[in-house]
Symmetry: C3
Subunit: 159 residues, 3 copies
Amino acid sequence: MQELLDRHAIHDLLVDYCFYLDSMNLPALAALFTVDCEVIYGADPRLGSQGAAALEDSLERMWRWARTSHHLSNVRLVFPGPDTVDSTSYVLAWHERLDGSSATIYGQYNDRIIRTTAGWRIAERRMFMHGSDGGFAVPIAPLQRRPAPPGWEPPDLEC
Amino acid sequence: MQELLDRHAIHDLLVDYCFYLDSMNLPALAALFTVDCEVIYGADPRLGSQGAAALEDSLERMWRWARTSHHLSNVRLVFPGPDTVDSTSYVLAWHERLDGSSATIYGQYNDRIIRTTAGWRIAERRMFMHGSDGGFAVPIAPLQRRPAPPGWEPPDLEC
Amino acid sequence: MQELLDRHAIHDLLVDYCFYLDSMNLPALAALFTVDCEVIYGADPRLGSQGAAALEDSLERMWRWARTSHHLSNVRLVFPGPDTVDSTSYVLAWHERLDGSSATIYGQYNDRIIRTTAGWRIAERRMFMHGSDGGFAVPIAPLQRRPAPPGWEPPDLEC
């Protein structure tokens, strides 16, 4: 029963991140993370931050988009212990540029989430990108996929 | 335990709306709402309706699209009382025009959902749009986002 | 209580399918199905398979895409009995071609999922497509939608 309640609380935490990011309520967003969190969206140093305060500063970069919409799904939670969760979730993140064009990324968050006295908080977040549309150019880390075996031939099936 | 069961029932209600809209089963869709519901997709009077019967009539407008697909996510439920829920959910709504072109909107539903003797029903629905692709022209109410502080300068990071 | 635990386990099963497909871990994907499963994505014989081993072979066709991203939502579970579930879920499936262009399909899975001694497994999967963008050409079965009544006139509302 406790795990069922925890699952809902953690789902809310993941969804709140999206909502606060899309409404650019960065103080509320930062409060979803532990004070000493590590967040890495990609290898570029500008895409990583140490600590909730640095994350809040770093995500000001999202104002260079006119609007965003972060659609979260495919939430998968594994509990290695009662106070720790390893979370995988998918995100479809739509971004509108100031010129009205848009770019969408399809990716996933890999999080370590922990129970604190104030509730569940994201302690570590890493993002991986499956791909993107619309000329998205930010170097988020690509997801590794198993390659086709040597000699594999595609079927006669149109794309 | 009751709240956990309620959460699943309310999630089903939100998902049923999408399914009935995409299959254009409007009588079944209208039955998800209270008889005296208020539904406002935008300030244009043609985008609002009072009562489930008026909603059913109003949503006939969706037949001007060849097809639609409403992908619901980011469901966030808050219970101000045992028989009332304030629900926020995201929707990615894809629309195909009769000419084969498509338009997608990225937005959210803000609902008041209440427990009735027949089960949970949507009493109030307001929609807000984060943005759109493909030349979507229906004037759905835009979501308000916090603006950048005065003097904010974008980082040197490509879009 | 058992049903609540079952709901989470079945949701995980549906999400694992997406994750294993996007990472092309086909042995792990096939293990989500019963040995004698029936999977039909469309009427074309190359889009159907009988049994988990045949499914694993058949899905090698996904390597003709450079990358995919399967975003699952709108999960709707109905339990006709304690060990059987009828599941409907939506998928937004983004596909990147080798030339860097992309195609997205918007559709739904209709599954029969059963409890086995090893856990919940997909026994039957049928896919229906609401529509697609980007010139997707694989003949997945279209969802049937109710047509407008004879003589219906579209409102004066721009698309």
